[in-house]
Symmetry: C2
Subunit: 287 residues, 2 copies
Amino acid sequence: MKIIRSATGMAVLSQRFLREGVRIGLVPTMGALHDGHRALIREARLRCDALVVSIFVNPTQFGPQEDLAKYPRPIAHDHAMCRKEGVDVCFEPTANAMYPNGFQTVVTLPTVARRWEGEIRPHHFSGVATVVTKLFGIVRPQVALFGQKDFQQSVLVRQLVKDLNLGVEMVVCPTVRETDGLAMSSRNVYLSQEEQVRAITLYKSLRAGAEVIRRGVTDGKAVQSAMAHVLKKEPAITIDYLALCDPSTLEPLCDVTSRVVLLGAVRIGSVRLIDNLLVTLPRRSSK
Amino acid sequence: MKIIRSATGMAVLSQRFLREGVRIGLVPTMGALHDGHRALIREARLRCDALVVSIFVNPTQFGPQEDLAKYPRPIAHDHAMCRKEGVDVCFEPTANAMYPNGFQTVVTLPTVARRWEGEIRPHHFSGVATVVTKLFGIVRPQVALFGQKDFQQSVLVRQLVKDLNLGVEMVVCPTVRETDGLAMSSRNVYLSQEEQVRAITLYKSLRAGAEVIRRGVTDGKAVQSAMAHVLKKEPAITIDYLALCDPSTLEPLCDVTSRVVLLGAVRIGSVRLIDNLLVTLPRRSSK
């Protein structure tokens, strides 16, 4: 496995791959790899010839009060997982190589970024859109893989690829969960053991929402109450938002349609957690 | 010569070129081609295998009060010139293909766009940066050519390519002028014959600025006065700005350095004209 730190070095290698007709796959990460990333890497391995995992804790997607400094960076562990999963290239640029003096370009998607995470984290999605555009420019992947856990991010990147004609096939892989249902996240290490147990309530709340939808409830407010009801039993948790949305636009829905996404974001102590569930209803017979 | 209207069609052709090791060159234009474009096309012809000229009157770089509707579109004449100059592909997308329903991504370069044209035309440069990123995504050129006449645009695109790692070599070609000195522009057709004669004063003003610099004047204000003095003799002309700037950053300079750009923008009736001159001083002996 090659470890490449220079953006130019990576770009040169990608150009060589392209000239040779090699299909490049990219799994963009911030490192601290867990089984969710492993699932992305394994799916990517099946879909490309040269598999690149980028590891870059992107400062521009963190707010000033957020956890950039303490974000976990277990690089030896990350390399070991990449090696084990047959990754060809770990691309690990420095912040200075990505954002040298004079850097100024910002890529924004005002409509996708307006709500939910974008409302709570004002510059987060312009940071994501800009760094993804850069990574695609450097690595030139034919296919890129993202986790469903960051649902709004996946909607944003899909729109970005379409809008800027980036020519990258987007694959979104299902959220990988602990056996108790907690969505895997590099930020779960911030949780104490007790908090980890409480954190499962977020998933339970989304499950409760999905459950009432499957039982035939179509009123958006009723679904939201069912979700909130579960979370309110856990006083250690503060709700940032709970929402029923159109999965393509992320606009909130008043009524359940055939396919919805339930989004949730909560705080436990100083830790923020997000999760989501896609709910697809079977078509009802028109009898 | 191929005429391609579909973005997908163009992207597919470019992918084929890249797989075959063909070097793609792009001259992005808004059509209404004149000898300035011809010079870009000829220079491009020497630098690539497959030469693409894009013709797209990009609505997002026009302000609401500007000349989008009346912008000249002599497409038969443009095709004839492209054919004559050995262009391989004319890429002519529709506005709807470039900006379909739901389109929302904006690429901005706040520092380059802050002054001069960007101040007078507030959304112009985000329109330019976004469409250039899209054209580069579709056409995948190794080299792209721009005219020096739109000096600030060339600085912006150079920074954009660097910031987003677009991997395109930028070539900026000297301004082509009428025999009397007027910079060629598709907008010159808006000028009456009398206005065309008066318009030359802009170039004369820049020449006067360059002249006093060469004569040893180093005070920025004095250079500006010399330029303004020439233009004030032409009452039909209103000055938008006259400036002495650093050619890389476009920041205004108080003192002449070894290399400066003189920028000018004026109005004659309802027509806006811009022009510029690069002035490089020979190194002075340190005696």
